[in-house]
Symmetry: C2
DNA sequence: TTGCATAAGTAAGCCCGCTTAATTATTTAG
DNA sequence: CTAAATAATTAAGCGGGCTTACTTATGCAA
């Protein structure tokens, strides 16, 4: 019980710390690209899974009208493509252009640099220990996610 | 070398996974409060360290004019106080009201619930293992942060 | 005292992101 | 074929958040 509390509180502490750093990279990369946080967020969403306009809006928590406008601005600036779905000509398939992918690569790379520095501060033994623990965390987080989808 | 790469990539993987979940809680809490992400972000910043308007703006990466306007909206809605600094009557000290603190508590609590569930999915041995690894991560991240401040 | 620097706020103007309501094109059910 | 449903867009309108330029009040130093 006390162990359980200690773990979730330490997780919390780590997340607070991590958030400050990761958010910084995220925001800086967003500024560099000249896009808003919402726009970069949409690009991330699109990179994970292609889909229609309404579907993307739903996952971003906005109406399809809002999604259409958001995506239109990204299209105007050459970050995404809108192609007619051959199986339903009402729908559009949204995909990233190379320019869109580069925005994400930049964001990912700046974070990866930070993580490399972090890893460099650890001894090989510590690295191994942290690696094993992260695998547990990743595994259990996925388990939690798939459980929630069931409901 | 290969271990190093494996660790930073696994860290990356964990962060991707975590971001999806944590961002969801963050956005949902933001919606519940009726505030924008920028407003909740400012409240978080204020809770960490009190300071003047310009100082807050600087940390948020915006001009002091923008900060003044952002904070004014929060003041109008009763989330913060603006008190004259007794040592420099030009400056205002920004602090959270109880209402402002509640917004943050709500955000923190919804995240804590998720972390509790995550911890519950682990055996006591795994919990101990993860706890030890997190302590290393927290320690090294702080080390990295303080090193960057030196430059 | 004069004058420059600093902290905050104000005004005008822009773009973003969101909503609701209406429109267009297409699919699907009867 | 006709009518309802669906996917996307468009239009109008609101507020947020940002900028620059300016104003006001205060601090500080020659």
């Amino acid at each position: 019980m006390t162990q359980h509390t200690a773990l979730s509180e330490t997780l919390h502490q780590w997340i607070d710390l991590f958030m400050r750093n990761s958010a910084k990279h995220w925001i800086q990369s967003s500024r560099r690209s000249g896009l808003s946080l919402a726009q970069v967020g949409a690009l991330f969403r699109i990179s994970k899974k292609c889909g229609g306009v309404s579907e993307i809006g739903e996952e971003l928590g906005v109406t399809s009208a809002a999604a259409s406008q958001l995506l239109d601005r990204l299209f105007q600036q050459g970050y995404i493509l809108r192609q007619e779905d051959p199986r339903d000509r009402r729908a559009k398939q949204i995909t990233l252009t190379e320019k869109g992918q580069q925005v994400l690569s930049d964001s990912v790379n700046s974070r990866q640099e930070w993580l490399d520095e972090l890893a460099n501060l650890m001894t090989p033994e510590e690295q191994e220990q942290v690696l094993a623990a992260l695998k547990i965390l990743i595994d259990r987080t996925r388990q939690l996610e798939s459980g929630q989808q069931m409901q």
